[in-house]
């Protein structure tokens, strides 16, 4: 410790005094401090491992619950479409089909809308205050609870779009995809409400991706004389495409697992219908509707469906993470 306040040279100097040791006596860390340090480290380690525990717990709980159904229905669970609690015959084909169709079609609509919006609010097309306002509104849209969107879909959106769906039916009714008369809940309204829900994700991630494209690429593109949209299509979008793809995959995972709004508007059908205007079902909607009242092997069948949903979203999310980590910022 530097406690010696006397100026150097004043007073007698003891030649035997070890000046260095005297001036910088290392403070010994008291055992209590070491204990606190170690304890804190172990505490945060335990807290961090909660993530792993919860993740494993989710998988094991769902798998354990599904085992009975897996052994009695096997893989034919994926391809049969009977859902019959009386005869205890279960197949999740309708729900799996509905999950895939609603999520993929909703993305097909949301990708151009989301990427277009992201371009509109990053590429200096409009004043920055307007850009920020649009960005803020899209972010707030993501904050609206899905159950509120479901309520809105039931009472406002579905009646409002029914004329358009009727028109679709009368024009394209000869195809198997539109050959039923729209009557309230169905796959088509579910797809539209999913578009509303995944749009903010795609827009936010595309906006970040476009903002990260180095300014030099833009300058280079304009320097060789391209137009604004020439630069966007040939330089900026290709540079950002991997991150945008990652965001699209994250949105796909979200769309597949989305529950409340879809449950309220999809119709929860028990019979298979290829028509998008007819009621359908998704795995998440089936769980939300039946899990509370199910017992016996129906619980197990629902757990089996939940396991399939988990594996689907897991695969999609892993691909998304890989895309975002591996391919972003490589031009």
């Amino acid at each position: 410790m530097l406690t010696d306040s006397s100026p150097a040279g004043s007073g007698p100097v003891n030649p035997n005094r070890n000046l260095a040791a005297d001036a910088f006596t290392l403070r010994r860390r008291p055992p209590s401090e070491k204990l606190i340090d170690l304890g804190f480290r172990q505490l945060t380690l335990v807290l961090a491992s909660f993530v792993a525990i919860v993740l494993l717990g989710i998988f094991l709980t769902v798998f354990q619950g599904a085992r009975e159904a897996i052994s009695s229905f096997g893989l034919s669970f994926l391809t049969t479409s009977s859902w019959d609690p009386v005869n205890e015959e279960y197949g999740a084909f309708i729900a799996i089909y509905g999950t895939l169709v609603t999520s993929i079609l909703s993305l097909a609509i949301a990708i151009p809308l989301g990427v277009g919006t992201a371009i509109f609010i990053t590429e200096d097309l409009i004043p920055s205050s307007l850009r920020e306002a649009i960005g803020l509104m899209v972010e707030l849209l993501a904050a609206i609870p899905s159950v509120v969107l479901g309520l809105w879909a039931i009472f406002v959106m579905e009646p409002a779009i029914r004329p358009a769906l009727n028109l679709l039916h009368s024009l394209l009714g000869w195809t198997p995809f539109f050959n039923t008369v729209p009557q309230g809940p169905g796959m088509a309204p579910a797809i539209l409400i999913l578009v509303v829900m995944v749009l903010p994700i795609i827009t936010a991630i595309s906006r970040d991706a476009l903002n990260q494209v180095p300014i030099e690429l833009r300058q280079g593109a304009y320097g060789v004389g391209t137009t604004r949209w020439g630069a966007i299509f040939s330089v900026i979008l290709p540079a950002a495409v991997s991150a945008i793809t990652g965001g699209v995959m994250l949105a796909l995972g979200r769309a597949m697992g989305e529950t409340m709004a879809v449950t309220m508007i999809v119709g929860n059908a028990l019979n298979f219908d290829l028509s998008l205007l007819a009621p359908g079902n998704t795995i998440a909607a089936m769980l939300a509707n039946q899990f509370g009242e199910a017992d016996g092997i129906q619980v197990s069948a629902l757990m089996y469906a939940a396991l399939i949903l988990m594996l689907l979203t897991f695969a999609v999310n892993v691909v998304a993470q890989w895309l975002v980590r591996r391919l972003s910022l490589r031009y």
């Binding site: 380690l45 993530v51 159950v147 039931i154 009472f155 994250l250 529950t259 899990f291």
Partner: protein, 304 residues
């Protein structure tokens, strides 16, 4: 170049003699205008749902706001009037339970990832697992908590309970809290930590007195947003917290929440119930938008 001859430029051949001012009639300029308008229309379509949803929630729910809405119980099916007092209280209670679990665990886990080990295999695994957990559908976390808490009757032989609902919500909050803590701490300049060690602070003191306070803003923003998201979640609650037409009876009994109330009452064929669903949407959306603006305000305060 053996024989350098004087170079002559034929300007008419090299340069386009067209005027340099902007000509909107050119094909490329018309295409640009077309694409810009398409992007603008897309942006308008993207913003439209928010405007419409907010408009309807304000109109349909706002006109039902009264004192009795906050103080009364929902009416039995078929009767008029009543309020959503129990559901408002229930949402606050369940979200509070979720926050009390998820915030300490999440902040602690984030500290471990950022301050103690960001390279080791375990940290990599936790970080990856966190991303996976963030992608787990919310209904699955309800199934999980149903399996470990409700079906096993672990709490005093009670099946459905506010506690179970809170745990299910905390599973959803956890990844967000860990991620924002980890990222917030990584933004703290390394010099601050070196400075703290330099004056003899222990790791514990450095983290709790220097690093965490400097990262307060991003962490607080993330936590407020995750609480707002949890308050609006329904799927994990339908078969964990269930619903109750009565006032909350402690944390080990079924409890009403606004989100489950909206779900239950929206699909009922009664006008009064549908109206209460709109009123609950109004209260919920206002709470969530307020939380979002609060989060925005926190992060703006720090930048100034």
């Amino acid at each position: 170049m053996a024989n350098p001859s004087p170079i002559t430029y034929d300007n008419t051949a090299l340069f386009d003699r067209r005027p340099l001012h902007f000509d909107p009639g050119l094909r490329r300029n018309r295409l640009n205008l077309l694409f810009t308008s398409i992007a603008g229309i897309f942006a308008a379509i993207a913003v439209l749902p928010l405007v419409l949803v907010l408009f309807h929630v304000l109109m349909q729910g706002g006109r039902l706001i009264s004192a009795s809405l906050f103080t009364q119980l929902p009416p039995p099916p078929g009767l008029e009037g009543g309020g959503i007092g129990n559901a408002i209280l229930g949402t606050v209670l369940v979200t509070l339970i979720a926050s009390l679990i998820a915030i300490p665990v999440g902040v602690g886990g984030g500290i471990y990832l950022s301050e103690y080990s960001s390279r080791g295999w375990f940290a990599q695994f936790v970080s990856f697992g966190n991303d996976v957990l963030a992608g787990v559908p919310s209904i699955i976390s309800g199934v999980f908590v149903y399996g470990i808490v409700v079906a096993t009757r672990i709490f005093f032989d009670q099946s459905y309970s506010a506690m179970a609902g809170g745990i299910a919500l905390s599973v959803l909050m956890l990844p967000t809290v860990i991620k924002t803590t980890d990222e917030g701490l990584k933004l703290v300049p390394q010099e601050l930590r070196w400075g703290a060690y330099g004056v003899g602070a222990s790791k514990f003191v450095t983290v709790t007195r220097i690093t965490l306070p400097s990262a307060f803003t991003p962490i607080a923003t993330g936590i407020v947003l995750s609480i707002a998201r949890a308050a609006g979640e329904t799927a994990p609650l339908i078969f964990t917290a269930l619903f109750s037409p009565f006032w909350p009876e402690g944390v080990f009994n079924p409890i009403a929440t606004m989100s489950v109330l909206i779900f239950n009452f929206a699909i009922m064929p009664y006008e009064a119930q549908n109206e209460l669903a709109w009123a609950a949407s109004f209260v919920l959306v206002m709470m969530i938008l307020a939380a979002n603006l609060l989060a925005r305000w926190i992060s703006r305060m720090a930048k100034v």
